[in-house]
């Protein structure tokens, strides 16, 4: 008996990557800027998104959101209060969103009637990094309560992000948050990344974020 080597050279997540490429093409064609929010559970993705959806709607932008959680539709109900169309994705045992789930939950939505589509991923700083959802921007969030070294503990996720957001900045002092160290750690794993510091509760930093996002859309999307 002999053995032979068969070269395969195939990405394990090929299927997801292909679906994500298809989604990306659809988003670009429809002129919708798609943003994927990733963080640990409890960082404040939903509060940040509530405020973002409301502010964008007030500025006249057309927005929608998909929100992933293992169970419950609590977050979708919270976000729907902004008046934006929102759909909940329950992943049950699955710890991340995949491109197929996005495709399935977009069914019936006219993407060309949207300016921004937000995807709130399952709270998890490991697995969602591997799954492309066809987004244009991946935003990694970190709250002041989590410790400044989080980016060093989860370099894969922070390195894969396009933007970093430090949340709950209003309680930074109570948490003994070392702002300079946190920023340096984010920059160590993702040199040059743009960092926003916000408090969704107080509204701190939200205007700067919203202005940047609207400007980014105009700068990068073809009408």
């Amino acid at each position: 008996m002999n053995t032979r080597v068969l070269e395969i050279r195939k990405g394990v997540l090929n299927k997801n990557d292909e679906l994500a490429r298809g989604l990306r093409d659809r988003f670009v064609e429809a002129g919708v800027l798609t943003v994927n929010l990733v963080s640990s559970p409890g960082t404040g993705k939903t509060a940040f998104l509530e405020r973002t959806l409301t502010a964008l709607r007030e500025s006249g932008a057309r927005v929608a959101a998909l929100v992933g959680d293992l169970e419950t539709d609590n977050d979708a109900r919270r976000l729907a209060a902004s008046g934006a169309p929102v759909r909940q994705i329950n992943t049950h045992r699955c710890c991340h969103l995949e491109a197929a789930m996005i495709a399935e939950h977009l069914e019936g939505w006219d993407l060309s009637s949207l300016d921004f589509l937000f995807i709130e991923n399952v709270g998890n700083l490991v697995c969602p990094a591997s799954y492309d959802l066809g987004e244009k921007l991946r935003i990694a969030l970190l709250s002041v309560a989590e410790g400044e070294d989080k980016p060093l503990k989860y370099p894969g996720m922070f390195n894969s992000a396009d933007i970093a957001v430090i949340t709950k900045i209003d309680i930074a002092e109570a948490c003994d948050f070392d702002r300079a160290a946190a920023r340096a750690n984010i920059d160590a794993v993702r040199p040059g990344i743009k960092i926003f510091e916000v408090s969704a509760k107080r509204g701190t930093g939200m205007v700067e974020w919203i202005d940047w996002l609207r400007e980014f859309r105009i700068r990068t999307q073809q009408p």
Binding site: T3, I8, R9, V12, L13, C94, V126, R190, P191
Partner: protein, 119 residues
Amino acid sequence: MHELSIAHSIVDTILTAAEPASKKDIREVRLRIGALAGVTKDSLLFCYDIATLDTPLAGSKLVVNDVPVTIYCAVCQAERELVSVQRFRCPVCDTPSGEILKGRELEIESLLIDEYAST
């Protein structure tokens, strides 16, 4: 913990890619995993045995080759291997770099297949 779904994806990919006749004779599956792929080797090895149960790949061995992160340093104009994934800087001149050349791989490289002489 998404290693079980990764293991299932490996099985699906191989069963789609390999010629039908050779599927049951696959002895070894060789994988390349980048340091930024977000996959834990030990968990994946454990999950592989579960994912291959009752498939033609049952009993085959998963061999994982680790791929370190390589960046391009614009100052040195050279590819450099990172010393640590906590520090995306050129190990020679200390210039920050976000240009990743290797280290995100999650790829099935090859299969080792038993061949029996035809009689």
